[in-house]
């Protein structure tokens, strides 16, 4: 690889990349992000490699990431010249020979692809490139186009534009998709101030949760005094239930790197840091590979693209502390210390890392930057709704049919995410709430199902955007238990620096534990409320002051569940073990004996084909009987 100095060099790399994306021979791509690997993609990849070798086929085998629909993984995509790209879902090593047969014979039999792509969108280039040339082959007519699949119909992919589309090990494929063209434009045709103006005009708000205008932050940092400035990428995605930043870092690392180089040029920074969670080893490896590639091409280092601008990037691994997602704590951690936050009356854009001006944005924010520079602020601000331009990536998880990562225009009604994209609640159960914003966020109950999903509307409803986790809950989720879960999480993760968070959250946890254990007393709920308000008012950092949110929001919308726990000593959702009791329905039990065999305490008895009985004195309420009963005969009350 040689350095890229001119637009001609860049176009050459793009040409190489395009040949790899839409090749002149057959290519199979395996979705190998963390979730793909966890669902068995490595075995599929190995089986494909073996089969291709055995049959001496001329097929390219490459790795890509997840496009978002994690519930149908492992996923492989087959690209053949002049034909639509086909996606095969729920692949196994066993299905490999059959799929290879189909590819060789060029006919679909047996294994039906989940969807097809006739063309691919190149966002940064504002064009679509065709896979299919000519009419749709007869046998593929019945296979839906990707945009006809409910999960993808209402989505719009900007930040995750390359996820699942390119080989994450190839910088050329990234360039072919319009990558580093924005960098070229920014460094050779734009002044730093112009870049900042463009970002301000685009209305891009920080995707890490707070929603602060990114351009304004850049501008303040540029104007701050000091020769040495830093840009930082917050990849310490700690919100449980959110993994979009992991996905982007893993499968499209260059989009983050390119965004950071542009930002650094605009701000006047020579050094950047990417702070990644310790729990994401694949993200660290892929980012490091991408940084090395960018250095070899001359996008990082001295005199980038002959512009005289020097910049380099370094990865720092976190060590498992939720509080390090907070900007001041993250910077302290980068300095090699225990990551405690500090009060923010002095902004980090003026005094941040090593007391120097530092601009921090999260992964998704940085990944949006190249798209804005190439397509312009006007285009970006035309997407989304008032004061909330662009898209937002969400992780739709929990009790929902189509689990996965989705990217939608801001302002989309929540209902469309849950029912159209997510396909509703499994098992015919009733929707109860969706939890957004992680531990600092809140719940949105059924009566808010039409809410517009944007920074401001969520905030008004007592929740927040957070980094974008959306955990869907149904009637079998206990909201008191959820509040207890988050408060327990926050007690554990509290850094201990300020009293309200360290002591207050602990006391709140004790009260909630009591309520869940059937020891709730009259007045507990009111006490929780007043403590929560106290913490909101006086905690030091944003983590502390938002810590009571899960309690406040569940109390606001589900007070009756608290009352049932405290007054009636009942858990309506059947979750809190001290308040529930397992029994077997005489009507439904067939006496099959499965639960009897599985019960770890041998507390179930009964003759074959006769109703079984649970001995309440020995039952530990582990729930294995309920999980294993095929006749829904276990009653929890």
């Amino acid at each position: 690889m040689s350095k890229i100095n001119t637009l001609e060099d860049l176009n050459k790399a793009a040409k190489r990349g395009l040949e790899a994306i839409i090749p002149s021979k057959t290519k199979i791509m395996v979705g190998m992000g963390t979730s793909g690997i966890a669902s068995g993609a490595q075995a599929v990849y190995d089986a494909l490699a073996e089969e291709i070798k055995k049959r001496k086929l001329d097929i390219i085998l490459s790795k890509t990431g997840a496009m978002g629909m994690d519930c149908i993984e492992p996923l492989i995509d087959v690209v053949q010249p002049n034909k639509p790209r086909l996606a095969y879902s729920k692949m196994t090593a066993k299905k490999v020979p059959e799929v290879i047969d189909q590819i060789v014979k060029g006919a679909i039999n047996g294994n039906k692809p989940a969807y097809r792509m006739d063309e691919e969108e190149f966002i940064c280039l504002n064009e679509n490139k065709p896979y299919l040339k000519g009419p749709v082959p007869k046998d593929l007519e019945g296979i839906p186009k990707i945009k006809e699949v409910n999960f993808y119909k209402k989505q719009m992919k900007l930040a995750t534009r390359n996820c699942g589309m390119i080989n994450y090990e190839s910088i050329d494929e990234y360039i072919a998709k319009g990558g580093y063209i924005s960098l070229f434009k920014a460094l050779t045709k734009m002044k730093p101030e112009e870049i900042i103006e463009e970002i301000i005009a685009s209305g891009l708000r920080g995707r890490g949760g707070g929603g602060f205008p990114a351009g304004v932050k850049w501008q303040t940092c540029r104007r701050a005094h000091g020769d040495i400035k830093y840009v930082i990428c917050n990849g310490d995605e700690g919100d449980p239930g959110a993994y979009m930043d992991r996905s982007v870092m893993e499968v499209d690392p260059h989009s983050v790197i390119e965004g950071m180089i542009i930002g650094a040029f605009a701000i006047g920074s020579g050094q950047g840091f990417i702070y990644v969670r310790n729990e994401y080893p694949l993200a660290v490896a892929n980012l490091q590979r991408a940084i090395n590639q960018a250095r070899e091409y001359g996008f990082l280092g001295k005199n980038i693209l002959n512009s005289g601008f020097d910049f380099d990037l370094k990865i720092s691994k976190g060590a498992g502390a939720f509080v390090c997602g907070e900007s001041t704590a993250l910077m302290t951690s980068l300095e090699g210390k225990a990551g405690e936050p500090r009060a923010k009356y002095i902004h980090t854009v003026e005094h941040g890392l090593w007391d120097r001006p530092s601009n921090l944005n999260n992964v998704e924010t940085w990944a949006n930057v190249p798209a804005i520079i190439s397509r312009g602020a006007k285009w970006f601000s035309s997407i989304g709704c008032k004061n909330n331009s662009g898209t937002k990536v969400f992780c739709l998880v929990g009790k929902i049919n189509n689990i996965g990562m989705v990217e939608v225009p801001m302002g989309i009604p929540l209902k469309e995410i849950i029912y159209d994209i997510g396909g509703g609640i499994p098992g015919g159960k009733k929707y109860k709430a969706v939890q957004t914003g992680g531990p600092s966020g809140g719940c949105l109950p059924d009566n808010l199902i039409n809410i517009s999903v944007d920074f401001d509307s969520l905030w008004e409803a007592g929740s927040m955007m957070g980094s974008g986790g959306m955990i869907v809950m149904d009637e079998t989720t206990c909201m008191v238990d959820i509040a207890r879960y988050f408060i327990d999480f926050l007690e554990f993760e509290s850094c201990g620096k300020c009293v309200p968070c360290r002591e207050g959250v602990q006391r709140m946890n004790e009260i909630l534990q009591d309520i869940c254990n059937g020891k709730g007393k009259k007045g507990d709920v009111e006490l929780l409320e007043s403590m929560a308000q106290g913490i909101v008012d006086v905690a030091l950092c944003a983590l502390g002051s938002t810590a009571p949110n899960p309690v406040l929001s569940t109390l606001k919308y589900f007070r009756d569940e608290y009352v049932a726990h405290v007054r009636d000593k009942k858990c309506p959702a059947g979750v809190c073990k001290a308040l529930i009791r397992f029994s077997i329905s005489e009507e439904k039990c067939t006496g099959c004996g499965v639960c009897l065999k599985k019960c770890p305490t041998e507390c179930i008895s009964g003759e074959k084909k006769k109703t079984h009985v649970i001995d309440q004195t020995k039952c530990i309420k582990c729930g294995v009987c309920k999980e294993s009963c095929k006749f829904d005969a276990i009653i929890v009350e």
Partner: protein, 155 residues
Amino acid sequence: MKTAKTIEKTVKDIIKKYGGDKTAMIAILQDVQEECRYLPKEALSSISKKMDVPLTRIYEIATFYNAFSLKPRGKYVVEVCAGTACHVQGAANLMDRLERDLSIECGETTQDKTFTLEEVRCLGCCSLAPVLRIGADVHPNLTQDEIPKILRNYK
């Protein structure tokens, strides 16, 4: 278990790798833990002497971050994901089952030093909830019933 002498050598090599940079303390401790599976007391005192950083500072870092362990850990660390998605899908039942089957509590190591049971704050595999990680393997969509079979593969 490493001897005091090999620990000394390990620490020396790791510090050299980072050029003795004090701001790389977290990375140094991570590397030591990767080598030793935990942070032995000898290693911490050795780092303190070699890098001229008070032991209390190093102890502060080692106890602040969840990834570090000051106690020896087993051959396999069994991590139950405690993310929200896993929680609503019944991760607590997995933990209960593991505690019963391994006869240890969360945070402890089995007597034969094979397993250490821990809770991890979200592995980011929320679409596969509930999950369990043993070493580098993530086990997706688990029920408590499958646990004995999985553990048998790691003896």
